[in-house]
């Protein structure tokens, strides 16, 4: 076993604060990232959960939840593209929910085509809930929103003063921006005030592509086809990413995340380097003896950097375990939490880098060391 690891294992208590600081800085970063990605991922849950690869929105749309209405006739125009096999419209309108016991809440009513094979039917409703919505005046809400809406399966409620019945609870259709209530387009029309309702308008036109067609190419073709002042075409991924970016920038949460992550990392660097420095200082005479013998400072420094790297690696593993636990808890409590492999890899790399930088900072003591001081 190397000198670095031997010292590390024998004196693990001394190194523990450094290990924990790297771990917690990583956990802080990943949990924030997970919540952020999870939270903003919910903004686009409507797009992400449908099978449509191409979306048509109003031209000034910055985020999925803020799209103005467009003419329903665009669906026919879009179908002129040879790569598009079918289109469907999706209508999203604000509504006022009132539960049986009187709880009122603003909601977003999503009018879909009530069929499992429909393009507008979100994946979590596909199995049987979409078909149930064919019955007039029925709605589906997400399980995670049921408490807030003060309802449950078979519960009665009112939307805009019209009675509806909850035919089922979905899972995974929660959005941070609003509370979705899913219904059929036919029911939605009934819920809207006659004056404010223009049947010729929809919120989105969704398109399905033939197998093998490239969504980005189709979108480029559609952009030349569609009147630019009336509509804009997106791939599902483009619309999703743009919406999340808009939320990240507009809400200021992105800057907050960056600030607290940098702060967490700085604290980790300070604690880790101070811990390593403390260990180096406590063994300065031993290191000085080897400097006297003629061992170059770089060789001794390698011992400290190796220790730092092990702390980074150990901290990374501990971080993963804790983040996995947090992810489990989040899932249990329906808290949106999402982490990608890339995010985890970056956090591990940052943790390792933090530890190694701390080790390099601690090297100052070693390079300052004069072996002749042992003789005083």
């Amino acid at each position: 076993m190397s000198l670095a690891r031997t010292i590390l294992l024998f004196e693990w208590r001394r190194f523990l604060p450094a290990l924990l600081s790297v771990t917690f800085a990583g956990v802080l970063m990943l949990v924030q990232l997970g919540l952020l990605v999870g939270m903003f991922g919910t903004v686009t849950v409507l797009a992400d959960s449908t099978a449509a690869s191409v979306w048509i929105t109003a031209p000034a749309t910055q985020s999925l939840d803020q799209s103005a209405e467009i003419p329903a006739s665009l669906a026919a125009l879009v179908r002129a593209n040879a790569d598009i096999t079918r289109t469907e419209t999706l209508r999203v309108r604000d509504g006022s929910w009132r539960s049986a016991s009187g709880t009122t809440l603003p909601v977003t009513v999503v009018g879909i085509s009530p069929s499992a094979s429909a393009l507008s039917c979100p994946a979590p409703l596909k199995q049987w809930l979409c078909a149930l919505l064919a019955t007039p005046n029925t709605v589906v809400v997400d399980r995670s929103e049921a408490n807030k809406l003060d309802t449950t399966t078979a519960g009665m409620a009112e939307i805009n003063g019209h009675r509806v019945r909850v035919v089922g609870l979905s899972q995974g259709l929660r959005s941070i921006g609003t509370t979705y209530v899913f219904t059929s387009q036919q029911t939605l029309r009934g819920l809207l005030d006659r004056e404010g309702d223009d049947v010729g308008l929809v919120t989105f036109v969704l398109a399905e592509l033939r197998k093998g067609a490239e969504p980005a190419t189709v979108v480029n073709d559609l952009l030349t086809l569609l009147p630019p002042k009336t509509a804009k075409a997106w791939t599902r991924v483009q619309l999703s990413q743009q919406s999340q970016r808009w939320w990240l920038e507009e809400s200021g949460v992105g800057a907050g995340f960056l600030f607290s992550t940098v702060l967490g990392l700085l604290i980790a660097v300070v604690i880790t380097s101070q811990t390593l420095r403390g260990v180096v200082l406590s063994q300065l005479r031993e290191y000085a003896t080897f400097r006297a013998i003629g061992v170059p400072a770089a060789r001794l420094g390698a011992v400290i950097v190796e220790q730092a790297a092990w702390i980074g690696a150990g901290g990374g593993v501990l971080m993963l375990l804790l983040v996995a636990l947090v992810a489990q808890l989040a899932q249990h409590f329906y808290v949106p939490f999402a982490l990608s492999g890339l995010g985890i890899a970056v956090a591990m790399a940052v943790g390792l880098l933090t530890a190694v930088c701390s080790g390099l900072l601690a090297l100052r003591e070693l390079y300052r060391l004069q072996p002749a001081e042992l003789l005083r």
Binding site: L3, T6, I7, L9, F10, E11, Q283, R285, E286, A288, T289, F290, A292, I293, G294, V295, P296, R299, L300, Q370, P371, A372, L374, L375, R376
Partner: protein, 241 residues
Amino acid sequence: MTASVVAADLMHSFGRGAAQTRVLHRLSVEFWPGEVTLVMGASGSGKSTLLAALGGLLRPDAGQVSVSGTMLWSLTARALERFRYQHCGYIFQGFNLFPALTALEQVALPLRFGGELKARAQARAEAALAEVGLSACAQLRPSELSGGEKQRVAIARALVTQPRVLFADEPTSALDSSNGERVVALLQDIAHLHGTTVIVVTHDPQLMCHAERVLQLRNGVIHQDQRMAPAVRSPLTGEAA
């Protein structure tokens, strides 16, 4: 016989201006192989500074030091490090052992840092530990060793690179008198057996019977250079009869 360590006109001061203190003053001295030389003197007489300058650890303000024909203070920093590694051994007042390592690992460490293969370093460390009579303690850590044993591990660590010159700074000051004498007797055995030049800085007059020569320093100059009569020692315990 040719001197192995030669110091010529060493000058060194600490501090600046009015606070400047001269520690070595045109000091010239020679040391021979196979001998233990004690460097004694009151605190501040310059003995530790002399040892540092002789051992390539402190560049003197003026003067030169030659070890085995190499002018130490003409070497580059890296070459001086290499020279120290190849030719010099150091023993300090504190034992300076890593608490995490066994005696065998402590002694093998200089060789491992020098790039020696593990098995070979271990074999040489075992031989060095045997030479200081600590074969039985090879697997013990510093916390399990007595003060005398720790210093003998430190001596084995200094010996393992087979230095031509061994520098020891107050090697017995943390030991009781019998352990102290035993350590110096060991250094004398090493000098005789390997022809090593052993230079020991000490306050302890009891050690004089284990040295071939005693230098008394006063105000940065050699006040007295005394050759000692050979002492009769027990070959087993190393203690003077």
